[in-house]
């Protein structure tokens, strides 16, 4: 009877360890998605800087196609790219000079890189915890098997 109770208690511990493990794995998955989103954003911002630079180099009067929704485009004449309207968050955009705009976007990229590094660090820590927990679960399983062998 006492041995049965002991095994039951062990089952509970094993379930707890498994629950904890699943939670860490879920957190890692969430972080991975966030990092992928950040990478996409960094790439988009870098493309924006390149596009702004190209538009500036092409100069005033060049014909460009303006997207109207996803499927249609209308032509327009390019003005000098001396002023750029940049979103600074919370639905607000401001008119900046070309250099200020590039600097602002670069600043955003730096902030995203810092955030990515922090998320990566957390993910490495979580991987460590997963490793530790997996080891614990393995040991626990081995102990249970030994106890069952002893009972027989």
């Amino acid at each position: 009877m006492a041995a049965k109770k002991e095994i039951k208690k062990d089952d509970k511990r094993m379930a707890e360890l498994n629950r904890e493990l699943r939670s860490y794995i879920n957190q890692i998955e969430t972080l991975r998605v966030n990092i992928t989103n950040i990478d996409a954003l960094i790439s988009e911002y870098r493309t924006t800087i390149t596009t702004l630079q190209n538009l500036k180099d092409l100069g005033k009067g060049k014909e460009v196609l303006l997207p109207v929704g996803r499927i249609a485009q209308v032509s327009a004449k390019l003005e000098a790219v001396e002023k750029v309207v940049v979103s600074i968050g919370s639905s607000i955009s401001v008119e900046l000079t070309f250099d200020e705009a590039v600097k602002q976007i670069e600043k955003e990229i730096s902030a995203l890189i810092l955030l990515r590094q922090a998320l990566e660090k957390t993910m490495v820590e979580l991987y460590g915890k997963v490793e530790e927990l997996t080891q614990k679960i393995r040991e626990h399983g081995r102990e249970e098997a030994t106890a069952e062998e002893g009972e027989k």
């Binding site: 309207v85 979103s87 600074i88 968050g89 919370s90 639905s91 607000i92 955009s93 401001v94 008119e95």
Partner: protein
């Protein structure tokens, strides 16, 4: 979690407020209402920012 998000939003809005305040005179400021970008004055932008924070 929600509290932390609110705190982050407050900090972000404070940075935006400082950014707008430091903008040289004559620079245009826009506020996005859905798909529409509306030109607003500096004071209107700050007021909208305050309202957005209260949401």
């Amino acid at each position: 979690m929600e509290e932390k998000r609110q705190q982050q939003k407050k900090e972000r809005n404070k940075q935006i407020e400082e950014f707008i305040s430091k903008l040289p005179e004559g620079r245009k400021i826009y506020y996005r209402f859905g798909n529409l970008m509306v030109e607003v004055s500096r004071e209107e932008a700050l007021e909208l920012l305050k309202k957005e924070e209260e949401k």
